[in-house]
Symmetry: D2
């Protein structure tokens, strides 16, 4: 682990009390701001509105467009976070946790032989973030044939979609970055291991950090069900705290120290019950973890976070000036992967909170993520 | 198992000697042909050429368009094959083999904790069948942001493709059918369990037999490596015989009776070494199993076939009048699923021929197949 | 059966000219209706719901799924309509009207030099029929470059859509047909000039009747504004009658006999004011012409119909058993093309009701229609 | 630096007419070049290879990746070119030429009533630049129905493509720009009227300069056929000179001063005969105009250039350090639109060199260009 990494983690985890204090504890970054005249120049440079902010249902939630002082370092990123703990050349991030020893450790949890699908089916009616689409057409009816004297016919399916970022989706390392320089400067938009948009973003696929670099995941998974703790579905913007996790583990007769490095942690908030029932509400925000739990995940050195929501983290964040700070902290800075829009109905019905989490991303070269449902094996 | 099913299997397996005799042993279906005058009428009806036959590289191989006598039953399908052994309402086919008992039986093979990716990455340069495409675009650079005072940016990927029928691909039950009636009659184009194109094919996704009905696969996998047996890569149209399988098992110190109901059988022909090296040759045909091995698979009651080729079966078939008769036999009639364009380099390098084959299709509602690489766990 | 329907049938069976005599020379197919018991059998055959009827907003309007008596000839099509007046091999339909003489006749109407765009812009927020989509992505930002020491960069746009059937759209001859036989029988689904789905429909593009066969349109256009006649926007299902046309022409100081063979007739119903203002209502139905005006169009031997609605014809039809009977009558049977979702604001503001209608479809091989806005030149 | 290049620079700084004076009023920016040490710093900054240069057939031709000295002004762009002659807010560029007076002037050339389609059909087999694709699928067979007791069926077509940049294509003002700053700096990638990538490029469509801003084109068109002048098809990289134009006009009995402001000029090089006959050669480069003719076009104040090639300009340029300098000069700096991959067979067969050029782009909001064939009317 590098110095930069260490120090960054410390800064983020220093506020131990209320999670919403976390972000506010970072005013010191102004000390690195450029002199006033340069800032004035840039303010006049017509940096303009942030286009993306106007898309889709999510635009209704109070994300602050990048504005104010574009030359100052962004909030929470006063220090560089690279090289990563897995090395400067690493492109696999937390999937490096999956070693033979880890696989064998996980396999011990296969006792019943039961397999649970932990995600949703893919269809046009599922809730979609922003302007993303999912379209499927069957070309022809059938697509081909009859062929041969056996008169074979066949169907294909033709799909157009943001394939790794719709439905149950797995976020990999080329998905989330931070604009360190001026908003238009692609050579200072930094991702995991410091890679920049200028270096690896390409119209035809990411040149680095693509999901094909992810190793197959087969590890111990822990489900934390918040619904019994709260006695209800959690609400949009409601943050899961470490105390909440401990309360849930206690209800589930699990001990915190059973959660080991390289394990996967999954959260059930109840928000997933809105899936296809109330897509507008589902997309309007979500409950989830905040920076406090993100730092707990980093300290535990986990492999993966997941939830029954579209971002795993609470949206909006309690600090309204921050957009998806957990994504940025876990994925961009620590290379910890994330699985969104999961479904835990079967596990919960059977009161199974510990299982093998197994998932192999579809290795789309230059993709930001992957479709596919993980399985839980007990 | 139904009578129809039994009888059909008998018919197909009756020629025990050379696999190419199988097809030729079926002239008796002419006895059910309609009277000559009706046939003459239909011949004059302008049923025409089969459009699909003219597509892509594959068109170069000698598949016979359906022609001659369209009202006679197609070759090899004089008997109906439904209801299936899994019941008339079944839509899961051979994935029904994956019971808790089977999962536990398979899990015993996890000894090293090593995971092998058994497929290829997805990219535009991979060989594609016929007119299928694979396109990926990164919208924007980045796609969204900067957002918030933390100035988060993100990438998506936008993919258009025959998603379940490109690259490493898993064929499910809505993919292959047989035109039992006249070529244009959708209500006699029959698939697994007798479903017809008229019943379930829809411009926006199959109404039945979609890949979302497949259960997660986690079973014992056996790799049969033919390259050492042949001393070379097998060639297009070269059929893998049961004797070949036995020779390979012997070389691998495996016994045939270790292959049990519900297991997966995978073939390495060497053809996969052409992947991205000589796509034209790769697409021009392939070695693979024929009807003899297909019947052996049915008798063994296996769950899945797979190979390092785009169809698993030999193309062209030794009986040039037949188009993909193994697909038709295994998938359409027996509901046995198929995994194409696999890669076994790691397993072969480590001389690992028995492992857990694990794969969960992306549950695309109404899809014919799924992308994604299975893993082999040892 | 409506009056309009009756008249349509009469028109077809008493052709006054050579070109339409062909159709009348067919025997009355009603004598070939199957015996009652067979029909009863088919009624019980579970032909089921028509899948397409359940798609999108339009599903709310009362279209009757094909049901009842599938083996009997469909309503309104007891006689075959081919070969067409333009010949048995014709694929250009009413665009054949555009001869040099017609172009010169039209060009006389260019007096002001003013050009009006008669359609809408294409964007994801436009109303779309059923499950159709319109998606546009800019790959990269920019897509390519910098190149050379001059450092050129460029943008592309990547579009996925039902390109000829979204937004302002031009229907050509492969779009609409009639299922003459049993519902699943592709060899009796007949289009213009009697072509069947079995003959020309292909997963990769229509083999006949594609929009590339349309000749460039440059003809006299007449706008009939119904809003002043009605004193309001017309409502969904409200039929434009010949009397309405005459009333509008009178208000516009135009004479009916100025509408000559090969001319284009365009209707303003006011429905277009809902465009992007109330897409749900816009899609829920529409005012438009019925069979009475369709027959008037046929008698006048016009080249094209158009309107500020998504189908030009009234939806639902006054005869609730009929689905889009005007499309079927004009396009399938008479090869008269149709332009939907037009906009006439500029023409109406300037009180210009006669102009050159000019439009050249994008010649997409095997396409059913074309995007693009026609222009009106005065 | 080529002669043409020199003259281009001169022309811009000593404009003889009103329209180009705007540009000349800018201070010479060459005095703002950064000091040598900063440039040396940037040279070491690893700006790396230009991704786009490696795409497709075209990559074989000798375009120099932007390299060397990224902070210095790019070649040929030492002066800013905005605001445009049509005003600082203009987004219509040279389509502003199309006034009623111009339309009436053009309409005088309609004498025969003959219409020529000046482009190609769209199909997957056409030559495509770089990694662009054209895919068409017919969903279902048919897509919908039967509906109603009239049993209507219909087809749609589902297209995925770089819609404005494939086949016969019309380039509008958001297509081509110049990276004025460092390669990764989107806020200095400038387009027509000085708009920057940071300002208007968006993952979901250009926010400015989209093709929906183009006015319908209806103007006098002049075809310059170089094949008779050269006695052969011109070759890749061969530049059409002003002398060549004059020789062609002379052969065609036309006078140079008949080419008036706002007219369209179209070049036939013979290269279009390779279309679908030898796509590899077609894409490998092309003959076309260079900077000399570009400046002649600017002096003549024309509305549009076009040719039977994919870029209209000669590729590679005689100055091998330049990538598409004519695009940059005409479109980016002067807002003059461009029509590529045209076809003139009919006009040439009839020896018609003067005609109405008429084209209305498909108004795709935020699109860089448009599909569609222009027509020539005589």
């Amino acid at each position: 682990m590098t110095d930069g990494h260490e120090r960054e983690a410390v800064t983020e985890s220093s506020p131990p009390t209320a999670s919403s204090q976390t972000a506010s504890s970072q005013p010191t970054s102004s000390s690195t701001a450029p002199p006033a005249d340069r800032r004035a120049f840039l303010k006049g440079a017509g940096l303009g509105a942030v286009a993306g902010a106007s898309y889709g249902k999510f635009a209704l939630s109070p994300i602050t467009p990048a504005a104010a002082d574009p030359i100052a370092p962004p909030k929470m990123s006063s220090e560089k976070w690279w090289p990563s703990k897995w090395g400067a050349d690493d492109q696999a991030g937390s999937s490096n946790h999956i070693t033979p020893a880890k696989v064998l450790e996980a396999a011990k949890w296969i006792k019943d032989g039961k397999i649970y699908k932990l995600g949703h089916d893919y269809e046009a009616s599922m809730p979609l973030f922003g302007k993303r689409v999912f379209t499927l057409r069957i070309p022809g009816g059938p697509t081909g044939g009859p062929f041969g004297e056996n008169r074979l016919v066949y169907h294909d399916e033709f799909v157009t979609t943001e394939i790794g970022q719709v439905g149950t989706q797995f976020d990999f390392l080329g998905h989330i970055g931070i604009a360190m320089g001026t908003p238009g400067d692609r050579s200072e938009m930094r991702f995991y291991n410091g890679h920049t948009v200028a270096d690896f973003s390409d119209a035809y696929g990411l040149k680095k950090l693509g999901v094909e670099h992810c190793k197959p995941l087969f590890t111990r998974g822990h489900l934390v069900d918040l619904v019994p703790v709260k006695g209800r579905m959690m609400e949009a913007g409601e943050e899961i705290t470490v105390a909440d996790i401990r309360a849930a583990l206690s209800k589930q007769n699990m001990k915190e120290d059973e959660i080991r490095p390289g394990d996967a942690i999954l959260f059930n908030t109840g928000w997933g019950t809105l899936w296809k029932k109330n897509n507008d509400k589902f997309n309007s925000g979500e409950p989830g973890i905040g920076l406090e739990v993100a730092n707990w995940v980093i300290e535990k050195d986990l492999c993966l976070t997941g939830a029954d929501t579209w971002a795993v983290e609470c949206v909006p964040n309690p600090d309204k000036t921050l957009a998806f700070p957990v994504h940025m902290t876990l994925q961009t800075k620590h290379g910890i992967v994330n699985h969104e829009n999961l479904a835990f109905d079967g596990l919960i019905a059977d009161k199974k909170y510990q299982f093998v989490y197994s998932f192999t991303p579809v290795p789309i070269v230059g993709g930001t993520g992957s479709p596919g449902v993980p399985i839980g094996i007990t």
